[in-house]
Symmetry: C2
Subunit: 514 residues, 2 copies
């Protein structure tokens, strides 16, 4: 057994069963070892950002890590933006990065670089296996570190000689740690403040947004709390039959206006809310003046249980409000984001998974699908666009019996369009929707906020995507995916009905009229 | 004047006149400032790896830096692999990375990350402008640092508040530093060793490979030295009328066999040669036993002048051998890399620029075009594939009167295919050639070297690109570029004749038969 074989065996023993990969020479022993480990499913991605985003989508849906397989520093760099998103989502990922043989590292060959420095900003755990004997034990440690709580990216650097040398050392099978539970006195103290508050708000982050967490939040809502969640969360179970928290507003001044008068903010699985960006003379910490902030459960604790105990402590009703089923009207004529949301709400099948990288089109679609059949919504947690297609790949691999819908702005989709090829190759049940407004629409809004007036000739060149227009139907065809273009509400409604009513991959280009 | 305006003015004052960009909100003040600085040409790239690769191509051709404009840590990460290549090429680049406002950084908003840690491995200089007053002076310092010698990537981190705050401080206009010159005694000592050597070799790196450096090397060749260059160099003037150094062989054991008996290795603008990768029981330092190694000029010194002085010191003839003009035969039938090289050697116009990311197809094409009309060849210096299209963009912007040919393996081309859109939008005079063998052919070779025998079902999934085959003509169309597919030698010969004989962008998919 060589190090690569021990590594793969230990990963599979610990439940890591999918490998999103773009390997090179320094990873070739691990590629060869795959032929002797049938439990691991290798999924080739044409670019590392697709691989890491897919691992993120997989982890969000499976609740267990997939692994990546990346080629030295540059391969890690290419995957780093979607690892950043995964870090913000708290997604468990075992991030395998090959490196030069240990004795070749000092030679500073062309592909050498400081992998640790590149990995640290996106990893909660980062180690290098300097020998074959250390590889499998560190792999087990990486799985455990990635699972947390809190979960995140565990980067294991694998020098080529650690992979090719012989070893007799497998890694242990590690059992999952349960998250810690809040102390009784914490619950009681916050319950007392809650009872005394005039306008309490509960703010939920990703770890709190399980079905149990939402049920507890619903009870708190029935007891008079307003329940809000972070603007961008890893995974939200939503739709008919589920409690629907409000969403923290994106622009800081609007969020603060929305929170006016709030005198208590209880944090569950999140931290004090801050603005996405700073702007001149605008607030960045989104807590109203005079509002007390109490942490019920930090990200590594069991936030759902804490919410339930808080509901008990304040004597909340046993059951709170849930969202009713409500599909939108069939869209007609003009094809804007609201019409897309209406069509999606009509045809989204039960248990569907939505990967949302739709940027400006995202919020209207999110709002219009609130009453659709129950589904999961995966959001862009770290602000690095280009995760909509990759995350959909991973979600589809993790949940092969669920329809996955990938929503993408055209600017965002162009980042990782290579992912379409992996969807075609693996025949994943994914409907990719691309919203073609031929602009970085969000940046046109942001430009206005600079106070610079209207964009001139030079700045427009960096804000508009027209000239030439990207033809997404041709792109999809180039990557082996069937595709259609919709230019009005009726045709989109039909296309979604057809694509979501059957199995298999497809791309729909939505020619937005506004 | 705000910080962004001062920054742009100082960059333009110092000769930085192209900005390859994919900005976001935190860079919006710099985007707005472009409307008031007509000397700077903004070029939008749909992905940051295209922007940084384009800046690399620009710097290699212009000999002066372009700037980038990247969006915080994730934008930098997306551009990092091609910055790695640029670092290895020694290309001057002013790498502008926006960040959150200084007072917002501690809030750890979703897009926050440790930009310094991400930047350091690819930068020879990395600073952050914490105030508007520091922005323009640091911009001037960044230009100077990037220019070197030795040249490289200077990363300037620009917090949003430094860009939007008012300032009266412009940066100075800095004059270029000349590279230091070797001491007389160094030249004399090496000349003595050269005269005493039985089998001397001169090894040239990127900084030595100017026309002057090649002329001097030609004289040393006439005086009995064998002249070799590094396997991958930033830019090589070559073709008819130029001296043609040999190329260090890629695989270490072959390189050492090729160097057998060499007793003196003189380094000009490079360091001791090492293998690209380590393999079990294979050499990594490519110097034969008993061979003395002497550094004539390290990368930051004037290597061409040192070669010329060495030639004088040993009494070399005033003129040495040069390559004659020799075009290949018109290719017929089977379409392999040699046939492509023959066709290219026939139609490559004088002063063309070749951006080579062709991987396994690259060496045969390189060999077959040795006798073409004089041209420049830009290579993959850092081993991070996906630079062929981006580097071509930058070369075409820097040298608008020269035809640019971009050679890409299909695996490499899929990394940064979004660059096709920028070629179309800017109407650049680039012919993009993609070699479709539907495999990571190089990795099939490397797999064989692991000793694992033939790839099995699982490993083949990571080595083959078929199923589905990428249709590059459709991809090109999707990004707005006219394209043709060639399946035999005659049709490729015609397509190259047509595309290289006229101006404007085009893609040619070459269906390799072997």
């Amino acid at each position: 057994m060589n190090g690569a074989e021990a590594l793969l065996k230990t990963l599979c023993d610990n439940g890591v069963e999918a490998c999103f990969a773009n390997p090179g020479t320094s990873e070739m022993q691990m590629v060869a070892a795959l032929d002797r480990e049938p439990r691991m499913r290798p999924v080739l991605c044409l670019f590392e950002g697709v691989a890491t985003g897919a691992a993120d989508g997989y982890g969000r849906m499976a609740g267990a890590p997939a692994c990546t397989l990346l080629h030295l520093g540059p391969g890690l760099s290419n995957g780093s933006a979607n690892l950043h998103n995964a870090r913000r989502a708290g997604t468990p990922i075992v991030n395998l990065v090959g490196d030069h043989a240990t004795y070749h590292q000092a030679n500073d060959a062309p592909l050498a670089s400081d992998i640790h420095s590149l990995a640290r900003p996106v990893s909660l755990w980062c180690k290098e296996a300097r020998t074959a004997d250390k590889l499998a034990p560190l792999a087990a440690e990486a799985v455990a570190a990635s699972a947390g709580p809190p979960g995140g990216v565990a980067t294991l650097i694998v020098p080529a000689d650690a992979a090719w040398a012989e070893t007799a050392t497998n890694g242990p099978i590690l059992h999952r740690r349960s998250p810690p539970i809040a102390a009784d006195k914490t619950i009681e103290a916050i319950a007392a403040k809650f009872r005394a508050a005039k306008k309490p708000v509960v703010l939920m982050g990703s770890p709190a947004l399980t079905e149990a967490g939402l049920s507890a939040a619903s009870r708190l809502s029935a007891a008079g709390a307003r329940v809000i969640m972070d603007t961008f969360v890893a995974r939200l179970p939503r739709g008919a039959g589920r409690f629907a928290p409000d969403r923290m507003l994106y622009f800081g001044e609007m969020a603060l206006a929305d929170l006016a008068g709030v005198d208590l903010m209880v944090l569950a699985g999140t931290t004090k809310p801050v603005a996405f960006f700073a702007y001149p003379a605008m607030p960045t910490v989104l807590v109203p003046e005079g509002c007390a902030v109490e942490t019920l459960a930090p990200a590594h604790e069991d936030a759902a249980l804490a919410l339930s105990r808080l509901a008990d402590a304040i004597g909340a009703p046993l059951v709170g409000p849930v969202q009713g089923y409500h599909a939108g009207a069939p869209p007609k004529g003009e094809l804007n984001a609201y019409a897309v949301g209406d069509a999606l709400s009509r045809h989204l099948p039960e248990n569907a998974v939505v990967s949302d990288d739709a940027v400006t089109a995202g919020l209207p679609i999110y709002m219009q699908t609130r009453g659709a059949k129950p589904h999961d919504w995966l959001m862009l947690t770290g602000g690095a666009i280009g995760q909509g297609i990759p995350v959909a790949i991973g979600a589809a691999v993790a949940a092969p019996d669920r329809k996955v819908v990938s929503l993408n702005g055209d600017g965002a989709g162009a980042y990782t369009a290579q992912g379409l090829w992996t969807i075609a190759r693996e025949d994943l049940d994914v409907t990719v929707v691309v919203f073609a407004n031929h602009a970085y629409r969000i940046l046109n809004l942001e430009f206005a906020r600079t106070g610079a007036g209207r964009p001139g000739a030079q700045s427009r060149k960096l804000l508009e995507l027209a000239d030439p227009r990207i033809d997404w139907v041709s792109l999809a065809k180039g990557f082996g995916l069937p595709a259609v273009r919709c230019t009005d509400g009726q045709s989109l409604d039909k296309a979604l009905a057809r694509s979501l009513g059957q199995s298999g991959p497809q791309l729909i280009e939505v020619a937005l009229s506004a």
